[in-house]
Symmetry: C2
Subunit: 445 residues, 2 copies
C-alpha cells in the first residue's frame, strides 16, 4: 500500500488531542491547524479542543479519515487501532511510547497485528511524528520546518527534533520529516521507495542507528533515483555499544557499513551539519568529473578550500591556457589567474560574473567553488558579488556552482539571494568543499 495517506491526506484525526498546553496532544493538534484539509480532535474527556468539536471516538466522525495520529497512552493503543480499523482508516502515526523500547514487545506486537488485520500502515510507535511542509502538515509537537526539497528521516526522535530547530535556524528547507521510532511497520526502505517518487523531494537524508531490514534497505537505496545521504550512529565500538541492539540489524564495523553504503550509492556523512550541507548541494547540476576551480577574493579562502578538496580526493584543476588569458584581461594585474583564482579584495560583482563565465567555458573545470569574504573596502557589499555569480549561472549554468559567503550578518543578504536562485551557500569553507565532494561522489556512482 502506498504511503500517500501519510503525506497527502485530505483529513486527519488526532486521537488524544487535548486542551492542556502541557500535553503533547495539545501541541500536535495546534500544530496541525495550518493544514488546509480537515482535522478532527478525538478525546473522550473533552467536548471541544481549540474551539473545535471533539469526538469521543474516531468512529463518531461522519467524514472519511485518511490519517490518524495517536497520542493516547500505550495501553489504550490496541483498542484505538481497532476503532481505526472499523472506521476504515489506513494510516496511523503512533507517537505514543512505552512499547518495545520499554520492554513491552508483546504490546507492540498486538498493536501491529491489529494494524495488519485492518490494513492500517503504521509509522512508529515511539516517534515524534511526521511533517510534509508542502502540504502544511506538521504532525509533530515540534516547530514548523522550513519548506524545501530535502527529506529527513530520523531513527532518533529527540535528535530529529533538535535538528528540525537547527534547520530552521540555518534556513535549510525540508520537504518531509519522518521520525520512524521503533519502525514497527513502515521502515527505511518503504520510505526510500516512496520518497523516490515524491516530486517535492530532491535529496534524502537519514539518521540511522540500526537497520533490521538491512538488505532491503540497501536495495532500495541502490534503486533510488535521488541522492541518499546517511549519518550512521554507532560507527565506533563505543558508539555501537551505546546503540541498543536491534535483532537482525545490519551488523558490523564502520568499514563494513561504509563499504555496503558505498555499493548502494549511499553518501556517508560524519555528522548532521555535513549531512545537510551535502544534501543542499543537489539543487545544482551534476559534475562530469572531479576537477574543481576556486574563485575567491581572499587568498586565504583559496588556500583552505584547496586543502579541503585535497582531503576529499577532489582535484584542484589546471586551467586551460585560454582561460588564463581571458582572466588576465578581465581581472586586475595583481590578481592570481591560476587556480585558485584570487580576484583580490578590490574585485567587484562584475569581475566575479566575468570570471565565473570564463571558468564555465573551461573544459578542465567540472565544479566551481566561489568564496567571498567581506571585501576590505568600505562601501562595497557582498550582494553585488552574489548577483554576479547568479548572472553567470543563469546565462551559462552548465556546471555546478557552490558558494561560501561566510561572514555572519555581512553575508546574510548575499546568501539569501543565492539560495533564492537555488545556488547553495555555505557558512564555512569546508561546507562548500563537502558539497562539491557529494556532487562528484553521486555523479560517479
Amino acid at each position: 500500500m502506498s504511503l500517500d495517506s501519510f503525506f497527502d491526506p485530505d483529513s486527519i484525526a488526532v486521537i488524544g488531542a487535548s486542551n492542556n498546553p502541557k500535553k503533547l496532544g495539545y501541541e500536535v493538534f495546534k500544530n496541525l491547524q495550518r493544514f488546509e484539509g480537515d482535522t478532527y480532535p478525538v478525546n473522550v474527556n473533552e467536548d471541544q479542543v481549540l474551539d473545535r468539536k471533539a469526538y469521543n471516538n474516531v468512529k463518531e466522525i461522519e467524514e472519511e479519515i485518511d490519517l490518524a495520529i495517536l497520542i493516547v497512552p500505550a495501553k489504550y493503543t490496541p483498542d484505538t487501532m481497532r476503532d481505526l480499523g472499523e472506521k476504515g482508516v489506513n494510516a496511523a502515526v503512533i507517537i505514543t511510547g512505552g512499547f518495545k523500547e520499554a520492554g513491552r514487545e508483546e504490546l507492540e506486537k498486538e498493536v501491529l497485528d491489529i494494524a495488519e488485520e485492518n490494513d492500517i500502515r503504521v509509522i512508529g510507535p515511539n516517534c515524534v511524528g511526521i511533517k510534509n511542509t508542502h502540504k502544511k502538515i506538521n504532525g509533530t509537537f515540534i516547530k514548523e520546518a522550513k519548506e524545501g526539497n530535502i527529506a529527513f528521516i530520523s531513527q532518533s526522535g529527540a535528535l530529529g527534533a533538535a535538528m528540525i530547530y537547527k534547520t530552521v535556524d540555518q534556513d535549510i528547507g525540508l520537504s518531509k520529516f519522518i521520525s520512524v521510532g521503533n519502525m514497527g511497520d513502515v521502515d527505511f526502505s518503504d520510505l526510500l521507495n516512496y520518497l523516490d517518487k515524491d516530486d517535492d523531494t530532491d535529496a534524502i537524508t537519514l539518521y540511522i542507528e540500526g537497520i533490521p531490514e538491512g538488505r532491503e534497505f540497501l536495495k532500495a537505496a541502490k534503486k533510488c533515483s535521488k541522492p541518499v545521504i546517511a549519518l550512521k550512529g554507532g560507527r565506533s565500538e563505543a558508539g555501537s555499544k551505546a546503540t541498543s541492539s536491534h535483532t537482525g540489524s545490519l551488523a558490523g564495523s564502520h568499514e563494513v557499513y561504509n563499504a555496503a553504503f558505498k555499493q548502494s550509492n549511499i553518501i556517508t556523512a560524519n555528522n548532521f551539519d555535513d549531512m545537510f550541507a551535502m544534501a543542499r548541494a543537489f539543487s545544482q547540476p551534476l559534475p562530469k568529473g572531479k576537477n574543481v576551480a576556486i574563485l575567491t577574493n581572499a587568498g586565504g579562502g583559496g588556500v583552505l578550500v584547496s586543502d579541503k578538496i585535497d582531503e576529499l580526493d577532489l582535484n584542484l584543476t589546471d586551467l586551460e591556457d585560454k582561460t588564463i588569458e581571458q582572466l588576465k584581461e578581465v581581472l586586475p594585474s595583481m590578481a592570481a589567474v591560476t587556480n585558485p583564482i584570487d580576484t583580490i579584495a578590490s574585485a567587484r560583482g562584475e569581475d566575479y560574473e566575468k570570471s565565473a563565465k570564463i571558468l564555465m567555458d573551461d573544459k578542465n573545470v567540472d565544479i566551481i567553488i566561489v568564496v567571498c569574504v567581506v571585501p576590505t573596502f568600505a562601501g562595497m557589499d557582498e550582494e553585488e558579488h552574489a548577483e554576479g555569480i547568479i548572472k553567470a549561472v543563469n546565462e551559462k549554468g552548465n556546471k555546478p556552482v557552490v558558494t561560501a559567503f561566510l561572514a555572519g550578518e555581512v553575508s546574510e543578504k548575499a546568501s539569501r539571494l543565492l539560495e533564492e536562485e537555488n545556488i547553495p551557500n555555505y557558512k564555512s569553507l569546508d561546507g562548500a568543499a563537502l558539497a562539491a565532494s557529494a556532487l562528484f561522489e553521486y555523479s560517479n556512482k
Copy 2:
C-alpha cells in the same frame, strides 16, 4: 620593547582618518570612538573628522601619542613614519597595502628601516588592524567583536575579518584580534610572548599560512603557558601551492607541520569552527586523563558523541560500581545507567544535577560531556537542565564539563545560562567532543 602601546595605549592617532564613509579611514576612526582614551584624526585634507579637530600632521598634536594607525597610501607611508619618529610614537599599525605583497619589497623595507631607526614597532603592513575588546579598542574597519578571553591572530586579513563576523554571530568572545598582514616587524612569536602575559587572554588561536620565523615561533609556543590552537592553511600540496611562498618559511608537508606543532604543544585545528570550539573549552579546569562520561537525555546523542570521542582517541569510560548504584537510585527505571548515561526524555533539571554530581565523584571519570535535546514533553524547557548542570559544577566543579544543548532557538536561553557560568556550550555534538579532546591534549602535553 613591549607591545603594550598597541593594546593598552592612552592615546591613538589615526593617520588618514576621513569623513568620507567610503574610505577605510572613516570606518577606522568611527570604530575607535568607543575607546575611552584620546583619539586624534590626522588628515591633511580635513579640518574636522567626525566633529573632532583634524590635524595636518601627527607632529601638530600637543598631547603624547602612544599608538598610530596608518591608512595613508603606500607612497606616503615612509614620510608618515618619519613624522611618527619625530613625534616619539613607538607603535604603528599599518593597515595600508601595496608593499611586499604587491611586489614593492623596497618600499616595505624603507618603511621598516625608518621604524627601526625610530624605535617604532610595526604591526602590518597590509593588514586589517587590531582590536582589544577589554579596552574598547577597535582599530579595524570591521565590526566590534564580543568581549571574551580568546586571542585571535590571523595571517589572512580577509578571513580574519570574516571570522570576526562569525564569532559575533556565534556569541564567541575575543580578548584581542591581530591581523598580522605582511609581518614586517611584529610576528607570531612576539605576539605569543605578549599574549602569554596578558591577563585577559586564556587561549590563543592562530590562522597561519607561512611562518618566516619558524624556530622562534615553535619556541614561543612551547614556552607559552596558555593553550595555543592553530589552523594551518596550505596543508595539502594544492593548498601549499595556493599559499604565496614566504622566504624562510617553515616548509614541509602536513605531517611535518603536525609533528612540529605537536612537539611545541600547539593544538592543530582543521578549520575555523573547530579552532574556536577548542579554544572555548579552556574556561574549564584541565582533566587528569581521557576518560569521558556522557550524560544525555536522548540515546542518539550518546551514540554520536561516543563515535566522535572514539575517533578523537578519547575513552568512553567504565563507571565505578558505586556510581551505577547511585544513578539507579536517582534516575527512572528506564534510564541507562552505564556510560553513556541516558536519563531518558522525561528527566528534569534536578535529575541532571544529581547525575552530574555522581559522575564528578567517580574516579574513573575525567571529563563530562552533557547532551541535552528538546525534551519531548511540552511544557519542559532546557533552562532547568542547564541550571541543574550549573548547580553541580558550582558545588563540585572539580572536573571539566562541556555541553551540547544544540536545538537552535530552543537552546538559546540554556546556552546563555551555561556560558555566563563559563561552561562552554556547543551547537553540535562534534563540537563538544572536540572541546573535550582539546582539553585532554593540552593537559597531556
